[in-house]
Amino acid sequence: MSPIYLDHAATTPVRAEVRDGMIAILDGDFGNPSSAHSWGRRAAARLEEARERVAKAIGADRSEIYFVRGGTESDNMAILGHAEAVRRVGGTPFAAVSVIEHKAVLSAAAEVGKRGGRWSTVPVYADGTLDMDALDTALAEGASIVSVMTVNNEVGIHLPIEAVGELTRVHGAVFHTDAVQGLGKVPISVDGLPIDLLSLTGHKIYGAKGTGVLFVRRGVDIAPLIFGGAQERALRPGTEDVAGAVGMSIAVDLAVQEQESEADRIRRLRDLLQSRLEEGIAGLRVHGDVPNRAPHILNVGIPNVDPEVLLAGLDLEGIATSTGSACDSGAQTASHVLEALYGRLEGVAALRFSPGHSTTEDDVIRVAEATLRVLELTRSVEAQA
């Protein structure tokens, strides 16, 4: 049986258009965009074309697009860069972030606190709503930046970023959204929306790892975190990764173009998998089953089974999935997102399935069958014991 990759929320393969675009740079226009000669000019042209491609795709101006080295870097540049900018004018930075943010945002916000600023979390509830009153309070108490993700990476809740952005703007604070899991899954545009900073990564949208974008609305001040030359307007110095930027731009462009049709397709697959699992597993609970739900994530809680064993059992069946977010060691730790939404889940294995481009209906049916098979094996062994 061929293996099935159902973990696209962790990372995706690189699509052919991205690969070809990157190889063209690596093989041909390898120059340093800062160089004065023709190689430099060609590389610079490719880089600026890439910038323009991203800008168009998300409704930004090309001067607002910064190529960075991934989502975590983009989030850190936004939050810590903002904090530093506030500090430079004598203010005290204060980051208010949703409690279900990715670690890149949570840790950066905590770092603001460690460096003499403040930070706090804003609750998100199991029904998918964000506590706007708590956000309002944080803003009234002086929050200088609000960071709320577009789509949560573990349970797929699509947060009301427009409303959050508007409230933030009323208070005169800066609004950042980590849109890493949102792009290509839900409509995303900064045009006319109260978004000041937006983070993207390539490797969740069939681009390469180590590629990313930070959108910085004109007039929004963030300070650089690293120092060097004038590349990326000195906000992200270092010789540009032109191949990465080109690949990123193609990935973003295609993700946006295909968003509507792909979201429909993926949603149907996700719903099929969900209904098969619901039919077969007693006590199954769908995490993040809310009206504002992104199409590509199915997070389910299965009672009375060890999540590590379940994941291993699925892997032995050739099925790649994950519990919560993939962490660096392969070891699974309790999810701060699930805990925030549902409290501690004792004895419940949370599995996250995320279909993608290559996923077929046959795949999800086979995954549902394999999941039931693995559960049956573990339960029959436990019954013997």
Partner: protein, 366 residues
């Protein structure tokens, strides 16, 4: 027929790497597992090397090279309860624990076995230097590893006997140099990894640090007390009896006219009793928490017992098997240390073992 599926414990060291490789060569369907037992990220300084990640990384690399799956199982809670808490409370009682024995007996193998069964495994394996003979399938026999300098049978006496039929120890017939050679031949990244000598959860080797963190402040074990002789003569002060083990000479200071050794630790009075070498000798030993890996020999049987990891097994007579075991040594033994393991052998075979409760000294010994 499908091949037998074996779950092999992989620490990321050379031994378990080769154990996994040998099982693959022997045609088993091998699944690797690393037990994440503890997190030594106590302080900020360690935040990047949390949870033995290096070992996990190496185990995953080796598994990839061998073409086998590999999983990490978090057993931190069990490990803390069964191993670290016991380690701390033993020192608090003035005893000297064997945490690796505790881990093998109570945590590692049980947790592996449980997960292995859930994953459809027929057996489990580790890179310990011991042999297991499955000829009598219902009652396999555990033997010392052929490499006498690496033999780890001392640490495995506490395995539940019903587990033996499912255990595999692929390194039992090999010497350490042969294992390294194998690892190099296979090009395993762990081939030249240095030996781990320290207790895994005390990577610095300084267990007092751990005791200070885990015991309540001003626990008697860490408070100053007196160094006295059997006759009650006070020779000096110490900074906590947890720093001492029976037979220890270091840390007592000098100038007593003859070398002095720790012969007893009295937790209730915080006294460390010292004396010359001959006072450190015992005729026998009382052993608790006894576990048999074979049919227990009858009363008064001759037996061999090993009372420390780096010691030879010495002849003794078995005196009581009612819960506790009393052994009379054929010749007096030095430094019988409560908390350490006493392991019973018949030739190379491990019969069982237990924890030393106390040394038995008859009055004419002193």
């Amino acid at each position: 027929m499908r091949s037998q599926r074996i779950l092999v414990a992989m620490s990321g060291g050379v031994d378990s790497s080769v154990a996994a490789a040998l099982l693959v060569q022997q045609g088993y369907d091998v699944v690797g597992a690393t037990m994440k037992t503890f997190c030594y990220s106590g302080g900020e300084a360690h935040s990047k090397t949390c949870c033995g990640l290096d070992g996990i990384t190496d185990a995953r690399r080796v598994s990839d090279a061998l073409g086998i799956p590999h999983y990490v199982f978090d057993v931190e809670e069990d490990f803390k309860r069964d191993v670290i808490d016991d380690f701390v409370s033993e020192y608090a009682r003035g005893r000297t624990p064997n945490p690796c024995v505790r881990c093998n007996s109570n945590t590692k193998f049980k947790d592996l076995m449980e997960r292995g069964r859930l994953l459809g495994c027929d057996g489990i394996a580790s890179g310990h230097y011991v042999r297991i003979d499955h000829k009598d399938a219902s009652a396999p026999a555990l033997y010392r590893g052929v490499d006498t300098s690496k033999d780890q049978s001392y640490f495995l006496w506490g395995l539940p006997i019903e587990m033996l039929p499912r255990l595999h120890f692929p390194l039992g017939d090999l010497t350490k140099p042969q294992v390294r050679e194998q690892a190099r031949e296979l090009g395993l990244v762990t081939a030249d990894k240095p030996e781990s000598q320290e207790i895994c959860f005390v990577p610095t080797g300084d267990y007092r640090d751990l005791l200070e963190k885990r015991l309540e402040t001003r626990h008697p074990a860490l408070e100053p007390g007196l160094i006295v002789t059997r006759d009650g003569e006070v020779l000096g002060e110490h900074t906590g009896y947890a720093n001492f083990t029976i037979g220890q000479r270091k840390g007592l200071g000098g100038g007593f006219g003859q070398p002095l050794y720790v012969i007893e630790i009295r937790a209730d009075s915080r006294e460390v009793i010292v004396g010359p070498a001959q006072e450190c000798a015992s005729q026998g030993v009382e052993i608790g928490e006894v576990n048999w890996l074979a049919t227990p020999p009858p009363e008064h049987s001759p037996i061999r017992v090993q009372i420390r990891y780096r010691a030879t097994a010495v002849p003794a007579t078995l005196h009581s098997t009612e819960g506790r075991v009393i052994l009379a040594f054929d010749e007096v033994q030095r430094a019988v240390t409560p908390g350490q393991s006493a392991v019973f052998y018949q030739g190379e075979r491990v019969l069982g073992g237990g924890r030393i409760e106390r040394a038995l000294v008859s009055s004419n010994a002193c």
